[in-house]
Amino acid sequence: MAKREIDDRFKKFGTVSFTSISKVNDFVDSLEQGKVMATRCPDCNISYFPPRVDCQNCLGSNNEWFDTTEKEGTLATFSKMKYGPVGFEDDLPYTIAVLDFGDFKMFGRIDNNVPDDSIKIGMKMRVHVNDLQADQKNFVFKPA
């Protein structure tokens, strides 16, 4: 009898992933296609990022995916990190940030090529898929 396949695609998200199995594993496939997907409940018209399959308003699980890479967000805050946790040493220094898209926000990093002195709260940015070492992927913000 064939071994049951374990869908552990989420282990490919981020420099170090602490999750392998999730109901939103399709998010990782979308990253490979250059898309950063959020979800929305069609019944309640609520957008979710991080994406989730379950709507906390109607308790339904009909959420639909939508791409966020075409959207413009506003930089809400950021911090350039000089030290990082175990496992992230090779990425240092890097800048974490929150981007505000209006009906949802996104936590991530600012692209390393964006000059420090050009980063200002309130600036318009977009999210892009970013390739990391060992085939891992995450997403980064770049000026719009």
């Binding site: 175990v86 974490i96 991530g108």
Partner: protein, 387 residues
């Protein structure tokens, strides 16, 4: 149902590396609290052990701590990151108010020195959503730095304003024989570009803005009014216990200039205690980073939003100021043994209200407040105590 009070308080020395094991460290604070409260282990009928897991190898520590302390009643475990022992006190209050128990020992303990600083930052970085935030390489200084950055942009906060919080802390740290950091620091040392205190950690936070990890324990013994009558010491009364949460994912926060969990916990505690901010004579707030103390002033109504920096500039929170805050040196000087921190803050306020605070005694305080936050405002806890 009668009142609930605190009969005994204790804490270990907070240090870089404690000589005892987890349970031995816990015993140091328990012993002091029993001696302080003139109560024996046999008279205590339940315990709550409070810590953040994974810093040490011990799993399910509550029964082990109870065993080592000679406690026989049911043992519970409380965890809300850095505010675990304030949560423990709220649970003890509930256990007593329900009538299930009449004397509860709340033991906070953390042994952080068994792992490296980077490894402990990784653990703290996983005190968030491990699916969506931790994979970006998060840690606590960076989380608070996001709030400092937004505060600077919105209200014009400066690094010098934040440094002034550390100057206050280090005015009192040298007086606290339980503190890990007892050196005095002046504004020049904290702002000079060639000082190691201004080396960046997570911009805009610098070395001088951050508290140190520490090993340590605290113990608060909570009793019913009825039980207190059979004991020789007078309790300090718990007037209000406020608790609230906010989203773990920062993507779900409304803003990055305040911590609503602390605001809501404060409102709940004031209401329950039937007091207002004007009644607070002395306070301990969660200053894991300098920015955190300023956010606390604003959350508790000591200052209007954005005006926390004016309070520290005007020295309103010094010992002889309008509301003395963290005159035991705070976390910035004492160090921050996660699970033990809230109990240590409560110990300071209990001693203040009893008039036993020695060199840092505030003049005749009647009502004191403890603000203890887990994560970057994930868990907010405010406890109001009175004589």
């Amino acid at each position: 149902m009668g009142k609930v009070g605190i009969i005994g308080v204790g804490q270990s020395v907070f240090s870089r590396s404690a000589s005892g094991s987890f349970k031995e460290l816990a015993f140091e604070a328990f012993k002091e609290a029993c001696q302080d409260g003139q109560i024996s282990a046999q008279e205590i009928d339940a315990s709550v052990t409070c810590s953040a897991p994974e810093y040490d190898k011990q799993r399910s520590p509550s029964a082990l701590v109870a065993e080592y302390c000679g406690l026989n009643g049911p043992a519970f475990y409380a965890e809300t990151l850095c505010s675990s022992s304030s949560t423990g006190v709220r649970l003890a209050y509930s256990l007593i108010k329900s009538g299930l128990h009449d004397a509860v020992a709340v033991v906070g303990v953390q042994k952080m020195s068994e792992i490296s600083s980077a490894a402990s930052q990784e653990l703290m970085g996983r005190g968030t959503d491990i699916q969506w935030e931790s994979p970006f390489g998060t840690m606590m200084p960076a989380y608070y730095a996001l709030f400092a950055q937004a505060h600077m942009a919105k209200y014009g906060l400066t690094n010098e304003d934040m440094a002034k919080v550390r100057v206050k802390s280090s005015t009192y740290g040298p007086l606290n024989d339980r503190a890990v950091f007892r050196k005095s620091l002046d504004l020049e040392t904290l702002t000079s570009p060639d000082s190691k205190m201004t080396a960046p950690v997570a911009a805009p936070l610098r070395v001088g803005d951050c508290c140190a990890n520490a090993d340590g324990s605290s113990c608060v013994i909570v009793v019913s009014e009825e039980k207190a009558k059979s004991l020789s010491r007078d309790p300090v009364w718990i007037l209000g216990v406020g608790a609230a949460i906010d989203s773990v994912n920062l993507a779900s926060r409304d803003n990055f200039t305040s911590l609503p969990s602390a605001i809501n916990a404060g409102k709940a505690a004031y209401k329950m205690a039937g007091v207002t901010v004007d009644d607070i004579d002395v306070a301990e707030v969660h200053d894991c980073f300098t920015i955190a103390e300023l956010l606390a002033y604003e959350a508790l109504g000591f200052a209007k939003p954005g005006q926390g920096k004016e309070m520290i500039k005007n020295k309103e929170t010094y010992l002889d100021g309008r509301i003395p805050v963290n005159v035991d040196g705070g976390l910035l000087s004492k160090g921050h043994p996660i699970g033990a921190t809230g109990g240590s803050q409560i110990r300071t306020i209990v001693k203040q209200l009893r008039g036993e605070a020695g060199e840092i005694q505030v003049k005749n305080p009647e009502i004191g407040l403890v603000h203890n936050v887990g994560g970057v405002g994930i868990y907010g806890n405010v406890t109001i105590l009175g004589r």
